[in-house]
Amino acid sequence: MTTGVTGGAASGAVGGASAPRRVLVIGAGPGGYPAAFQAAHLGMDVTLVDPEPNPGGVCLYRGCIPSKALLHIAGLLHETDAAADWGIHFERPAIDLDQVRDWKGRVVGRMTGGLGVLTKQRRVRYLQGRARLTGPTHAVVELVEGGDQALDFDYAVLATGSRPSVIPSLLPESPLVMDSTSALELPEVPATLLVVGGGYIGLELGSVYAALGSRVTVVEMTAGLLPGADRDLVQPLQRRLEKEFEEILLETRVDAMREQGGGIEVTLGGASVEQPLRRFDRALVSVGRRPNSEGLGLESTRVRVDARGFIEVDAQRRTAEPTIFAVGDVAGEPMLAHKATHEGRVAADAIAGLPVAFEPSAIPAVVFTDPEIAWTGLSEVEAHERGVEVDVLRYPWVASGRATTLGRGGEGVTKLLVDARSERVLGVGITGAGAGELIAEATLAIEMGARVEDLRQTIHAHPTLSETLMEAADLFTNSSPHYVDRRRERARGGQAGAG
């Protein structure tokens, strides 16, 4: 059966007098559903295909949203601990895991259900199934309810996302070895948990399990947690995690893993490993994610895929096949939901013929640990790699009144990277409570081409953590009222890091 995707959407808005463009969006995550909604908003006839009952994708079902619900609980537990220092003493909390799961499920259900309603309101046709391209303008959807449905389209947007990388030697089939998806299901709180991979997923989920009572050991192959992030931002987090976690083993590999007596036995390798043979109740493997570009029928099109599996796209997110666009994790790094959303909207606008391009000056990245780490635009690591001359303004939160009232004064830093010549802000990094919220102002500043003077002269409410951005800007002229940087020499011509 071939069903032309016609009717349904308000006709005429895009194609003038002719029939509206038929757009097929494959994948309803944070890249796909915004693309579908935007295309519908522009008057196109849109079909959205995803195996889940509602839009949301990994982000809502198995990623950002459930993990943040659990991290909120972890944060609360940390607060009750810290309160003892302020004269408030709680009893040891009783944790009802079923109820925790239920709450997390309600959060997810509310968000995905809401998207389902919006899909109908936008008159987007939603097919629960898996789509496969059969040509530049044809696809077949294998429906969850059974049967295949053939579709003709004028344009398609591929938004199929990514999945956790699997390492065969790390027992992916074992019920005791979790990936991010199964870890979020909270099967139990193991007494001991091994986290393989010190990236953001491992640290976020490790924090959740540690707060719930697991003794967590993190094994990271490189020399530091959160590889790629600026070290001065990671340091406050690492100091805290060293207390919360049982152990953080850097420059360490997992050489072997086996099930042994209801637990997991591992052999660790690395120069500093003193005790290679370890036993854990469970393991969480979080060693990165891979794009979902297989099984989509790309071979029936001219779409090109690079060596790492990412679909190649141009500035408008158009693939080598002119009728097909790709957005989100499947279209390249950084694999972040908000980047996918922006791309999805760009692709829909491009299909409508609008002169758009995906050209952000800054994409914020947030690690939702406690403290949080967030950065946007140029990082110090990148500045150094690319030889960009920057002035680094680093404002420690010990000087922030607000951070001190939260009991987190020693745990934060706000850092600006400023172009020495034009004095514009090129990058910002923040570690501390609420860094993920604070980074928004920094991203706007970079996109707007703000100079350090603009930040300095914008009045920030007192006492808030956002003041640290203003006061970091003050350091450019070393005129912060609350902090004097004695080492700071405004010598121009210095390399990154000389600030």
Binding site: A13, V14, G15, G16, S18, A19, R21, D154, Y155, R302, R304, E312, V313, D314, A315, Q316, R318, T319, A320, E321, P322, T323, G332, E333, P334, A350, I351, A352, G353, L354, P355, V356, A357, F358, E359, P360, S361, A362, I363, G377, E382, E385, R386, G387, V388, E389, D419, R421, S422, E423, R424, L426, I446, E447, M448, G449, R451, E453
Partner: protein, 474 residues
């Protein structure tokens, strides 16, 4: 000692250059003044020489990249400060561990992010063939003095050439707010070419409009005077296959200059010069000139000499108009440009002080400059500061044509192919075969009246016809 070698100043007003070729690799030994990279700026292709001898550590640029003055190109290890290159040095340093440990060469040094603003084409590139694209109706900026956007021309339905990501590696984000970048795209302006007038060089909507106004035709046909931005092309692909290639920097600069030139009112006069005798003289003295180091004596070299004298006699044609100051700037020197057709496009090297050199010297210099132009080795300053231009299309068979001014010059002489024609000889009472050279003089009618132009051209013709005149009056 290791040094970071950054792109030096290339010339006044030149802030960036496209890297054509990287001439060194990590581990290579370089000598002082040895070329490190080859770059293309607005008008010239140049080799950037190493400031010191040493071993190349990292190469931080890749061909195809646009780099800015001050951006680090390579690091040079064991750099002896300007020390001359010692022959044993490469062997000594190539094997050292420091050379082996260098990070991966150029390609790996590309920015890790997906290049954000990759080649945003001047023309909006909307969706492909199928249904008719909607007019995007760019928001008309209220009360703009000159209407910047081309009246809501529907963007061409030409399918955007699907280019792979990371084509551009210009990693500095554009210094403009997203709304300004969108506006630039809507009116077909490449925001990276806009000079920002804001603090630190920030680009405003007004800067984009100003830029659009200064780009007549915006790369398209320069026929209509100053519609801001590019008039969108119709869908060429409807009538057959179309291949789209980017305009080179030389092409873009030529297009801009020519379009600007069109704004000054030109007049062209045509006249033939009888060069029968001159040609005989040229043949007679050709070898002598070659022996004297003047290379191949061409008619253009002789014309250089004639025009230099003519310009001294007619200073207004050697002048320039300063509209803002309401002045005419009389140059106290005579520098004549000669248009050269090269693989990279039209280049115009300038012969300095042509009025102070004899024909042999001019011929030698012309030969050198032409060779440099063809090899892409002309420096920027060798193409600047001309007061008049000679354009010779005779070699290609052209007769008369209407040369276009090279602003701010106000005169240009077009030289066509000389042909033998029957000319009435009143004294002999018969037709005789004469070699006639077609000359076309275009001039800026704002400051040169028709009669002035005619007098100048006649002076040149007379000088060619009676070579002795040069010695008498030149």
């Amino acid at each position: 000692m290791a040094i970071e070698f950054a792109l030096p100043e290339l010339g006044e007003g030149i802030e960036e250059a496209d890297v054509l070729k990287v001439l060194v690799a990590p581990g290579d030994a370089v000598a002082v003044e040895q070329g490190v990279i080859e770059v293309e700026t607005e008008k010239a292709t140049l080799e950037v020489p190493a400031p010191a001898a040493g071993t190349i550590g990292e190469v931080r640029v890749a061909s195809g990249e646009t780099i800015r003055v001050g951006q680090v190109i390579v690091t040079i290890e064991d750099a002896g400060a300007g020390a001359p290159f010692a022959a044993e040095q490469p062997a000594a340093s190539a094997g050292t561990p420091s050379a082996a440990e260098q990070p991966a060469p150029a390609p790996a040094a590309a920015p890790p992010e997906p290049a954000p603003a990759l080649a945003v084409e001047a023309a909006p590139a909307p969706a492909a063939e199928a249904p008719a694209p909607p007019p995007p109706s760019p928001p008309a900026p209220a009360a703009a003095p000159a209407p910047p956007p081309p009246a809501s021309a529907p963007p061409a339905a030409a399918p955007a050439p699907a280019l792979p990501a990371a084509a551009s590696s210009d990693s500095t984000p554009v210094f403009a707010a997203p709304s300004v970048r969108t506006f630039a795209r809507e009116i077909g302006v490449d925001i990276r070419e806009v000079a920002g007038s804001g603090p630190g060089g920030r680009i405003s909507v007004d800067d984009v409009k100003r830029h659009a106004r200064s780009q007549p035709g915006g790369g398209g046909a320069a026929a209509t005077p100053a519609p801001a931005g590019a008039a969108a092309l119709p869908d060429l692909a409807r009538w057959g296959e179309v291949e789209r290639l980017p305009m080179s920097r030389v092409r873009r600069t030529t297009a801009d200059t020519i379009a600007r030139s069109w704004q000054s009112p030109h007049v062209t006069l045509f006249q033939k010069a009888d060069v029968t005798e001159l040609e005989a003289l040229r043949r007679r003295y050709r070898e002598r000139v070659t022996r004297a180091g003047g290379g191949n004596l061409t008619m253009v070299a002789i014309l250089l000499s004639v025009c230099a004298s003519a310009l001294k006699q007619h200073p207004r044609i050697n002048a320039a108009v300063d509209v803002a100051a309401q002045q005419i700037a009389y140059r106290q020197y005579v520098h004549i440009g000669v248009a050269v057709d090269t693989e990279r496009g039209l280049l115009v090297p300038v012969v300095r002080d042509a009025d102070q050199k004899n024909v042999t010297e001019l011929s030698a210099e012309l030969g050198e400059l032409s060779a440099k132009a063809r090899d892409g080795k002309l420096g920027l300053d060798e193409m600047r500061g001309g007061s008049f231009t000679i354009s010779n299309l005779g070699g290609l068979g052209t007769g008369f044509f209407t040369p276009i001014l090279n602003p701010p010059e106000v005169g240009i002489l077009g030289v066509g192919r000389a042909t033998t024609e029957a000319v009435w000889d009143a004294e002999a009472g018969a037709f005789g075969p004469r070699l006639l050279l077609p000359l076309s003089l275009s001039f800026d009618h704002r400051i040169v009246d028709g009669a002035d132009g005619a007098r100048f051209l006649s002076w040149v013709v007379e000088a060619l016809e009676q070579p002795l005149l040069l010695a008498l009056e030149g």
